[in-house]
């Protein structure tokens, strides 16, 4: 199913005001309903290599998979298929980065965060590893959807720090999970129903470390009619506030409903639905 008329996707990536290199990477394909964002880490500019590898590998492998109608069959386990496909491909990308890191001394220890969204059948499947985030604007409500895999988030979760205290912590940007730093990685994957009008924001911490969530939400609400301007504005605000890190954003607007077509393989689903 071609989702290019259903989804409007805009992306921006910027090195920020301080760093010479941009180690973030973004990828989007509105036709296939995919958005991927990665924030790389490592010595020299190995971070650039790690994030680039992950977005490219995931992008191309999923493109191949989604172009085959069988992958997109909706059956009782329809959502499960997307999930296990993502798990498999993230695992493959993790391996590739890990192997590269082992084989080249200048890439030793490199890794990357990951946040990605796949849109299908009026739903979004979100996978993330690390502290790059997905937010959602629905009507006037703006909220963070993913929960960071970071030291600070763990401290907040077990009551050691309040959210206010975390803002002034010196332990920012310490992630507890990353792609490419271990032989295997566990990604966190969830599905949520989408509604027409929803706007999703994928971003690296270069945005949310420089701009308060409230300001981000307000910007999206006010500029929702012009997604490209909203994206430019978010990056500009991060830079105006110091731009101490690379900043990347991907904005996705759901324009209308997109139920999955039943197709040839859907007869089983329809049969089962008949009996429900």
């Amino acid at each position: 199913m071609d989702l290019s008329q259903v989804l409007e996707i805009v992306s921006r990536t910027d090195p920020g005001m301080v760093r010479a290199h941009n180690e973030d990477a973004v990828y989007a394909n509105s036709g296939l309903g995919m958005a991927i964002l990665a924030d790389g880490m490592g010595g020299y500019n190995a971070g650039e290599v790690a994030s680039g590898m992950v977005t490219t590998l995931l992008g191309s492998e999923l493109e191949k998979a989604f172009k085959q109608p069988e992958t997109r069959l909706i059956d009782q386990d329809g959502r499960q298929q997307t999930r296990s496909l993502l798990e498999a491909e993230i695992s493959r990308a993790n391996n590739a980065v890990y192997q590269a890191a082992q084989s080249q001394p200048q890439y030793a220890g490199m890794g990357t965060t990951l946040v990605m969204a796949v849109f299908y059948d009026n739903a979004i499947t979100v996978a993330h590893i690390g502290d790059s985030r997905l937010y959602r604007l629905r009507g006037e409500e703006f909220s963070q959807v993913t929960r960071d895999h970071s030291l600070l988030q763990e401290q907040i979760d077990n009551g050691m720090l309040t959210v206010e205290q975390a803002r002034t912590s010196q332990n920012k940007n310490l992630v507890t999970r990353a792609v490419g730093v271990d032989p295997s990685v566990e990604s966190e994957i969830h599905e949520y129903a989408t509604l027409p009008g929803d706007i999703y924001l994928l971003c690296s911490d270069g945005l949310n470390d420089m701009v308060e969530d409230e300001e981000i939400g307000m910007t999206l609400q006010m500029l929702s009619a012009n997604l490209a301007l909203a994206a430019t504005q978010l990056v500009q605000m991060a830079n105006d506030n110091g731009g101490r890190d690379n900043v990347s954003v991907i904005l996705v607007r759901v324009k209308r409903e997109f139920p999955a077509p039943q197709g040839l393989g859907g007869w089983l689903a329809r049969l089962l639905a008949w009996f429900k």
Binding site: V18, V175, D240
Partner: protein, 247 residues
């Protein structure tokens, strides 16, 4: 690393680096910071370090522990905080402000159980910093990532920017709107909307949506952001308004 500066009556006594997970303060000799004074309890307080953060806790001392004049039980230390125990003062300085390379700040790094993300200082301390490096590849050399100036941000203005819009025509003529927020939208959603952005060095107007673009001083804008100057006249959705700076 973070450090404390001990002083009394304004006179600096010594500087104490915070290298341990727990730094105890009290009158008894076993304390890491021993203060031999009767106003200080045997075990008076402790500073617990979680990597680059530090928490101060009063250990039910007789005379209590203050930070910046306020009595505390448990306190999340901020750079510059002054801890008061009796007549003694301990000024807390966090690590980050002693960073050598600004570009290292804000770098995302992976943290594993038992591992310090930065190399430990001299006088290597305890349990939580057990070296798990044994089986891992050697850490890469620090990146030389020099900060570069990019479209250098102009000097921040001496005064705080305060701009406002006064409506000159239409039903709301005479009304004034202060531009205090980062973004202020003008116009009719779905018909014609422009946004005024408040940036460190000035205000800008940008077209958001609509078939026609706003005009400033009679000239129609393009899709780019346009800087606003004192007394510029904006025309949008048939309404004229004046932008002005408040002193």
């Amino acid at each position: 690393m973070a450090k404390l500066t001990l002083s009394m009556d304004g006179m600096m006594l010594k500087e104490i680096p915070l290298i341990k997970e727990r730094t105890t303060i009290g009158r008894k000799p076993h304390n890491d910071i021993q203060i031999d004074n009767l106003a200080i309890s045997g075990e008076h307080a402790v500073i617990v370090a979680i990597l680059n953060d530090a928490f101060l806790e009063d250990l039910e001392s007789t005379n209590g522990t203050n930070v910046n004049g306020q009595p505390i039980k448990k306190h999340f230390l901020q750079n510059g905080d002054v801890i008061e125990l009796g007549k003694y003062r301990l000024k807390y300085r966090s690590e980050a402000l002693q960073q050598t390379s600004q570009a290292d700040f804000e770098r995302t790094m992976i943290i594993r159980p038992g591992m310090m993300p930065k190399s430990p200082g001299p006088g290597d301390a305890k349990a939580a910093m057990n070296d798990t490096q044994a089986g891992m590849p050697p850490p890469p050399l620090p990146a030389v990532d020099r900060p570069i100036a990019r479209d250098p941000v102009p000097e921040p203005p001496a005064a705080v920017l305060r701009g406002a819009i006064q409506i000159l025509s239409g039903a709301n003529a005479g009304k004034e709107m202060e531009l205090t927020k980062t973004l202020s939208t003008l116009g009719k959603p779905g018909v014609q909307v422009a946004v005024i952005t408040r940036r460190p060095h000035g205000y800008f107007i940008t077209h958001v949506e609509g078939a026609t673009f706003p005009a400033v001083n009679g000239k129609q804008l393009d899709s780019q952001a346009h800087p606003l100057h004192d007394h510029d006249i904006i025309e949008l959705a048939g309404i004229k308004m004046e932008f002005f700076l408040k002193d």
